[in-house]
Symmetry: C2
Subunit: 435 residues, 2 copies
């Protein structure tokens, strides 16, 4: 598809990796961005680019609104939509072992599909163009995402309650071949659910495939305490010593870190993926975001799953990431809106190995969203980046494009599924699991 | 206007003040609710109510979506829209004295109007049907709100930098007579901006008019410390001893309370109005919500002004009020979604003296909203109240009605102003204040 967006404000990154807002147009050619720049006669742009004049399938008047990179949700369990508002107001361990795991046991490769479509629909409404997922049945989620046209990076969630290194390897090979939209990294659920022999096998796989490794890391105080009791080391130090991070990676949550943990993340340039809403709601704590930033450790932002959050909304997470850092440090100057927006877009893309989706620029994949600035919460336009982070809402998302295709526009989905059917199925599935 | 909503889920309160969701219809007659109950033939309902068959101006098929009371924003400075994203990332005192006050000095009774309309528009998009406002020029805001059809309760924000008890009295009389939609209570900005003689005059006025008293109370640690240094008492104890609360009232923020403060609020049944987003963003702290609830102290929820928050979004505040209580107490069971929703609706109405707007029931004012449940973030419908509090979004607000009039529907406003004009004016005004 050739699509021309004109009359737009466009959020770009300059050479210092700082956000700039330019006025002009953006051309999409197939799955990629062909041009981002000032408005000129299309013929002039074509001459510059040595390009034949495209035949536009659509020319979209952006009406002075904002085009920006889609949000990258750097930690999620998309299929968990079925447990939204099902088991709340419980501490993490109880919530996980008594409520989530028994219901998850009733999932199969068929009933999980509409639950995943439901999550993808929610991402699109919030301008999220990729999720970094720890899923049940990764090949199934890869199929579902590709079918919807959604970009999905996955990581293994294997643990000693289920799965094996052999299955991880099988998934690795399958998912990475499913579609251009899907990829897979080596990983495991968490130290507290995984025995030493399996962790060692995971490290071997990471070496074999030169893969980064991600896991739930230091989400609760108790998790760190128990790991110290078991191994005399924190989860970060243990996994480092097991040789997990030869090819990078990072951790989800990273709430309780000691000096040595920070050092390892800094040295290896691992990504700390913060999930502020989930950490509050499960009463896990507030991550030390300021220190991650000060140490130059890459940070990305995730929603976590809809059972713990309970929504998949990057605007909520951005506000929280910023505001919680301020109150944690009792310092209202702590972490600027620009830094937060970078984490939610470019930072997430880099964590997922999607360097070709990390900004709006010619040659990058066309994963972008249109933000309606003509709404009261985005006015006046004193500072558009601050408006996005501090007062933005998913209500402002007018259009979500992934890989050059418009999947969501003016509250309508183009993903090959009827919303009403998906809602009906999701309700039926959770009801069928009861009793 | 006679409006019939049918095929609805309706959020009501039972005799134990607990939320229930019934299926049926809701009739609006003029500014009030005439009927809430199960669906029957309209003629049957009329016979029961001994009512002539109404001529409907509109019959609205709610399509199984939710009708619920409008949110009550229990603390706001609506006019501050112009400072949204203008002065961020600063601590409260610096933000207030160096950024807000100098710009506020440039406000007048004309340029403040579009700024207030902008705030009212934002309320409507978030399903807020009333604000409890501490404003510049209260009679002007009363006029603007009445013109838009919006319900506005105001409180005096007098302090020793401007205003006098005489002006408070004048405003009290004027605003309470402006419209059925507007009312005014005695109050003052805060102890830290108000000298003793003025506080005493305010207490006298409260007695004269039998008015509740509200003020910013114990928002920061520093505020309490300085009050203790000045008077040897906390702001709560000082104002109690000055006889402020003979007719009730409460405090905005209430972050730093000691045992005696809790005791006073409990004994007097004063409302603690929590403003979680603002308290985070200005790095003020996290209010002790759990204890307020345990002591049986009324709680309501406010957004505070758009310069500190930076949005006027009750969904954001509800999630925060709940999730922050959980992380503050490190207890994921702390405060249920039901309690939070009660604070955001009924609790706010009671704080503002709007007992006739506190729930959906026959005879109450028709201040209500329609929530679109056919959106991914509201599915599956495991628990609608939890979905509202934990995953709801202003995107779900399909319709906002105040006093029987539909002011917002499907993203369109019916308030007598053109959105584009308001945005243009708001941008012009802040630009004109620069330099």
């Amino acid at each position: 598809m050739n699509i021309r967006f004109y009359n737009a404000k466009i959020l770009t990154l300059n050479e210092q990796e700082q956000f700039e807002i330019i006025r002009g147009e953006l051309w999409v050619n197939g799955d990629s961005i062909r041009y981002v720049g000032e408005s000129k006669k299309p013929a002039e742009i074509c001459a510059e680019l040595k390009l034949e004049m495209p035949v536009w399938e659509r020319e979209i008047d952006v009406k002075g609104n904002l085009l920006m990179p889609g949000f990258k949700n750097a930690h999620a369990h998309t299929y968990m939509t079925f447990l939204r508002s099902y088991a709340d107001d419980l501490p993490l361990q109880e919530w996980l072992y008594q409520m989530c795991f028994p219901k998850e046991d009733k999932l199969d490769t068929e009933n999980i599909r509409p639950l995943e479509v439901l999550g993808i629909m929610e991402y699109l409404t919030s301008g999220i163009t990729t999720s970094f997922d720890m899923c049940y049945f990764p090949p199934v989620y890869a199929q579902v995402a590709a079918q919807c046209g959604f970009r999905a990076v996955q990581v293994s969630g294997v643990n000693s309650f289920g799965g094996s290194a052999a299955v991880v390897e099988e998934n690795y090979l399958k998912v990475n071949e499913t579609s251009d939209l899907t990829s897979f990294m080596i990983g495991f659920h968490a130290e507290y659910t995984t025995k030493m022999d399996l962790m060692k096998e995971i490290a071997d796989l990471a070496h074999k495939y030169k893969s980064p490794v991600f896991l739930h890391n230091s989400e609760t105080q108790n998790e760190v305490k128990e790991c110290l009791e078991r191994y005399g080391k924190t989860p970060t130090q243990l996994t480092e010593e097991l040789g997990m991070y030869e090819y990078g990676g990072g951790g989800y949550h990273c709430v309780y870190f000691d000096d040595k943990d920070f050092e390892i993340f800094k040295k290896r340039q691992l990504t700390a993926v913060t999930c502020p809403a989930s950490n509050l709601k499960l009463a896990s704590g507030i991550a030390p975001l300021k220190r991650f930033v000060e140490e130059g450790i890459p940070v990305a932002i995730g929603t976590d799953g809809p059972a713990s959050n309970n929504s998949l909304d990057m605007f909520k997470e951005m506000f929280l990431a910023s505001a919680l850092a301020k109150v944690r440090e009792m310092d209202a100057e702590c972490i600027s809106a620009d830094k937060i927006l970078y984490m939610a877009t470019t930072g997430g893309a880099h964590a997922m190995g999607l360097d070709n989706c990390d900004r709006l620029a010619a040659g990058k994949k066309a994963d972008l969203i249109m933000i309606d600035l003509q709404q009261p919460n985005m006015q006046p336009e004193n500072n558009i980046v601050k408006n996005l982070v501090y007062s933005g809402s998913k209500q402002n998302v007018k259009l979500t494009m992934v890989n050059g295709k418009i999947l969501y526009e003016d509250q309508k989905f183009s993903i090959g599924f009827e919303p009403a059917d998906i809602y009906k199925e999701a309700n039926r599935i959770i009801r069928s699991m009861e009793g």
